[in-house]
């Protein structure tokens, strides 16, 4: 858990996150990520063997959520209002640049 992050790893994580960083940004992120990861390594001091992960707190609450809704057709947002906010559409679908270079 004290692995030092390398430039290559920052570039790989940025690629996974669809972030295209400038070389200056990559350098700054390398520094910050290493500082933060050094700090979070404190967690290794705690013995958590056998502790079940807690992803969210619903299980701790006496009255949880309302459960699954009934499977019924309800009104949705108006398509034209939704599409009006998109950078590019053909009036029915969102439009995006070509997926592959040929």
């Amino acid at each position: 858990m004290t692995a030092k992050v390398t430039v290559k790893q920052v570039e790989r994580v940025a690629e996974l996150a669809h972030l295209e960083l400038t070389p200056e940004e990559t350098g700054a992120m390398l520094h910050d990520l290493n500082a933060i990861l050094d700090y979070v390594a404190e967690l290794n001091e705690l013995d958590t063997a056998g502790v079940a992960p807690l992803a969210q707190v619903t299980e701790l609450l006496e009255a949880a959520g309302g459960g699954l809704r009934t499977d019924a057709v309800l009104e949705s947002l108006d398509r034209s209002k939704v599409l009006a906010e998109a950078p590019e559409t053909n009036g029915v679908f969102f439009k995006v640049p070509k997926v592959m270079d040929r």
Binding site: E20, L21, L33, I36, L37, Y39, V40, E85, P97
Partner: protein, 481 residues
């Protein structure tokens, strides 16, 4: 430095004025827009105003009052909304360039419930980008300044929401809190801020940061009005399957109950190294006033507290990296013109649209979730999260509320921590614990430093025990008067 502090009138006095006709919702709204026009250029609190919607609502309230009809609970109360909630008639930016120009086609449930209760929605409030920050300096639209001292930050991420109440640019506001984003700015600006129990308020229409931690809550100038606001927005919503079906008590009435006999826990871990001595002194005076009011003061132990910041920054960034994947230039907001393939369009839009702190958190979260590191980081953090939550539940078996400082210091200066992300994260050291455990809390003003900066006490309650937290906060507030 300049100061713009002005205390808003109470809900009760505004309501009496509207009912009796000595004032009107319309004239009140106009007066608030005048004050906003005058001082917003100095404080940068509002990002956009919804004048048409506000004035139409004010006219509806005035028509009810003129007929002598019963008024709904927030009739004519001018409120502001943090710009991480969607509200028709105003752009929703989340403090980010990537959403610039987005006009949402629906209202968040908390927003529509306020309006249904008669509130007049003035506009949208500045905040850190995607609610990521502790000083409001991460907004793409410039920092908010603290009305108490304009050289200082208002706290974050709901800096605009706290500053608006402190400067009387709204009577009450909505904010959101993921790791302290309501409680810490309330402390820095000297107002009341509420972290409801996770699930108490619907998150429908809240732009997601970290879904297992995100909560919407109110700011007001006094505890009773904050309790009234929470009563309006709380309760099950079919549009948020995680919202709680638990009945919503009359929080204002709960806050009126005396505190005599309540057991108050003091965790030594929150009074250790790093706590400013003046903040400590102010909180100790507040604790003494609870004792004088008949509370029993007991030490409680929360030994894993020091692990809360690393746990929080792994959990929150992991969830953020998933939630913020939706900002891709396809459906709303900014699309980079500099790309001819889909993949390049995604990367360019995100790189040009997101600010540095958001990128830092997306990268950290993506790293913590990536193959080979998941167990060591995200998995480990989830295990520690359980330890932290269980410590609170054990403590709440022995006490009714826990009180702590909200933040280790009073408001710091603009620029003081911007170069060091870790130093900024430590501003949340006393607030992230309750976020991880899902419990509720109230920040209430509790004295000030020798420089005149506000100090806030954090009153924590167990799951769904907001009523108790409000009672204790009322007693602290009463002792200040």
């Amino acid at each position: 430095m300049e100061s713009f502090v002005e205390t808003p009138r109470t809900f009760a006095s505004l309501r009496a004025g509207i009912e009796s006709g000595t004032t009107s919702a319309s004239s009140l709204a106009a007066a608030y827009y005048d004050r906003i026009a005058e001082i917003n250029p100095r404080l940068n609190v509002y990002l956009s105003l919804t004048r048409d919607r506000a004035l139409a609502q004010a006219e509806r309230v005035d028509a009810l009052a003129a007929k002598g009809d019963p008024l709904p609970p927030l009739a004519g109360i001018p409120v502001g909304i943090k710009d991480v909630m969607v509200m028709q008639g105003a752009p929703a930016t989340a403090g980010s360039k990537i959403l610039k120009g987005y006009m949402p086609p629906y209202d968040a449930t908390a927003v529509s419930r306020l309006e249904a209760a008669g509130a007049v929605l003035l506009g949208k409030l500045n905040c850190d980008e995607f609610a990521m920050g502790s000083s409001n300096e991460n907004s793409a639209y410039g920092p908010v300044r603290n009305p108490v001292d304009t050289d200082r930050v208002p706290g974050g991420s709901s800096g605009g929401s706290a500053a608006a109440v402190a400067a009387n640019m709204a009577v009450a506001t909505l904010g959101s809190d993921t790791g302290g984003s309501i409680r810490q700015p309330a402390s820095f600006c000297g107002v009341v801020g509420v972290l409801p129990t996770w699930s108490r308020v619907s998150r429908y229409g809240l732009i997601a940061f970290a879904s297992s931690l995100d909560r919407i809550g109110p700011f007001a100038a006094n505890v009773r009005d904050a309790a009234t606001m929470l009563g309006v927005i709380a309760g099950y919503d079919p549009k948020d399957a995680t919202s709680s079906v638990a009945p919503v008590p009359d929080f204002a009435a709960e806050s009126d109950k005396p505190v005599e006999g309540l057991r108050i826990g003091i965790p030594a871990e929150y009074f250790a190294e790093g706590l400013d001595p003046e903040v400590r002194a102010a909180i100790e005076t507040g604790i003494a006033s609870l004792k004088a009011a008949g509370c029993t003061i007991k030490p409680v132990s929360l030994p894993s507290t020091k692990y809360a910041i690393p746990t929080y920054y792994l959990v929150a960034t992991a969830e953020a990296s998933a939630n913020l994947a939706r900002f891709d230039g396809v459906r709303y907001g900014y699309r980079s013109p500099n790309s001819d393939t889909l993949s390049a369009m995604y990367s360019h839009s995100r790189d040009e649209g997101f600010g540095a702190e958001v990128k830092r958190r997306i990268l950290l979260g993506t790293y913590a979730l990536s193959a080979g590191y998941y167990d060591a980081y995200y998995g480990k953090a989830q295990q520690v999260r359980r330890l932290l939550a269980e410590e609170f539940l054990r403590a709440f078996a022995e006490v009714d509320a826990i009180v702590t400082p909200t933040a280790p210091t009073a408001a710091f200066k603009l620029g003081e921590k911007t170069g060091d992300p870790l130093a900024m994260y430590l501003a949340d050291i006393y607030t992230v614990t309750a976020s991880l455990a899902g419990i509720c809390g109230v920040t209430v003003p509790c004295g000030q430093t020798s420089a005149g900066l506000p100090v806030g006490m954090q009153v924590l309650g167990s799951h769904l025990q907001e009523g108790t937290a409000f009672r204790v906060a009322r007693a602290v507030e009463a002792a200040q008067a």
